[in-house]
Amino acid sequence: MYQYDQYDQAMVDARVDEFRGQVLRRLSGELTEDQFKPLRLKNGLYLQLHAYMLRVAIPYGTLNGRQMRLLGDIADKYDRGYGHFTTRQNIQYNWIKLDDTPDILAELATVEMHAIQTSGNCIRNISSDHMAGAAADELVDPRPYAELLRQWSTFHPEFDYLPRKFKIAVIASDTDRAAMRLHDIGIQIVKNDAGEIGAKFHVGGGMGRTPMIGPMIREFVPALQMVSYAEACLRVYNRYGRRDNKYKARIKILVHEIGADEYRRQVEEEFAHILTLGLEPPQAEFDRIAAFFADPGLESGVLDKVDRSDPDFALWLDQNTAPHKQPGYAVVVISLKPTGGIPGDATADQIRLMAELSTAYSLDELRVTHTQNIVLPHVKKADLYTVWQKLDAAGLGSANLDLISDIIACPGLDYCSLANARSIPLAQKISQRFADMDRQRDLGELKLKISGCINACGHHHAGHIGILGVDKRGIENFQLSFGGSEAADTSLADITGPGFSEDGVVDALEKATNVYLAQRAEGERFLDTYRRIGMAPFKEAIYG
């Protein structure tokens, strides 16, 4: 994976110094909270319900064992012994002290990590496919492109005060594992008819209050013009995105209001101008970056067989591992969704254990998924049993990937000052109601996503089943929706009808899964059945 040189390190070190000064100015009263807030947000520091919360960037979700180990140590040293992995492939700590943050950032800088642009109205941490570099179905590794864009977007002087936050995802396979079209810019690395590599740009997708699927703005941008094209996309947005209403300020609203064709015309005009300026890093720079990702150390001639004699292991193997492009290897997904647990949370000890396992068994690499799980991307099949045993002993052996209990849940009203309802207790109740693993496997792939407010951090619009928590005259209330997807068949979920209490929504969910079981055709997932038979039979079962 990518390693900093002296330039990258100097940037991160300078940022630590700058933020240390800003914190001192706040503590001394030189800066008011109103002045300080946008500055701290650009460094991922929020003031949440109970304390400051620090979000640490994990660029395109990739990190090494040493970095993961430090994340565990920070949880112990500066927080309360745990961290929360997020739907942006980052980690956040819930109990941070303002006067500790410069020291935390300084420690992160020692392992090439930071909290730069993990919040605020700027270009956020760039997300990617958590199976990049390992997936059997990818065209190329998307991460060198993501890293090129990471450097371009870091402290970009023109785009630090955008109308609203800006999220970019980069993938390179037709199987979308990163919700690409639900980003402000979704890029798919593709090959054109001439066999050249380039980038397909989708612009104006997003979730939040007004969910939209990003329209395709350009079929093919040559790889060596990708930065210039992104610059053009951002400049048009920075100049013309709405600033009169925070809820209409995302680029999706601009693209929607002026239309994809007009937006494309403006971008093309700007792009033609920008190409004359020579802003694009040269091929040699791309090659330098790509070399870091080219060979993680995979061996050939490795035993391509797994001993399935332990039935519990076999269940985990079938559910939580995916094919690797190299024979003899597998991609392991560690579920952070135990029955009754808090989705995405891991203790300091669990984080360090995953770090150890990555170093010993996964070529020192880990990934954070947008579904709040952790990936060991390069595990030899011969080591899978050992890895599973160690995970299982640490409470990390849940064999529920993509099943109903593999729930995405935002922190909700237990932690978040924006939330209207609690997401986590609901996720816990659902996973307990469906605790029987045979039943879960019978229900099959069922992506359930819960957000505690319309900001949709829990991706409820894109859930096969989505749940949105709202505040109904001071009482938590939950809206149920069906039919969303964030995969290549991207779709937005439809609301079933009136909302429910916390227990009521769990009951409704059970009724809906019964409709699916009764009506499914051979091979159909819940989503497929819903798409075929529509809302009516579900509605009748839930409200009838």
Binding site: E33, L47, H50, A51, R80, D99, I342
Partner: protein, 98 residues
């Protein structure tokens, strides 16, 4: 009753105005009547509290109960991590928040 809350500037801890200073325990909160704006202005200016505001609350047999669920959760801590609250032994605490 009307009570005052905010966060400690340096630690971020949730705090409640107890008449003389800022307490971590909501049950120490006092009714400030009409004095809210004056107290908050002085305390903010002196950097003794951050992002402070006044809220409605009642006092019952369990103590001071903020009117809105958000402030009740602030007073307690995450309902899903009762081990991290001010009184970790109080297993009924989460139910009273709702």
């Amino acid at each position: 009753m009307k009570i005052l809350t905010g966060n400690d500037l340096a630690s971020g801890d949730v705090v409640w105005w107890d008449g003389k200073g800022w307490s971590r325990d909501v049950n120490d909160a006092v009714d400030v009547g009409d004095a809210a704006d004056a107290i908050l202005a002085a305390e903010e200016a002196a950097l003794r509290v951050n992002v402070s505001y006044a809220i409605a609350a009642t006092r019952d047999q369990h103590g001071v109960r903020p009117a809105h669920i958000k402030d009740r959760i602030r007073a307690l801590g995450p309902t899903v991590r009762l081990d991290l609250t001010l009184k970790p032994g109080d297993t009924g605490a989460a139910n009273r928040v709702i």
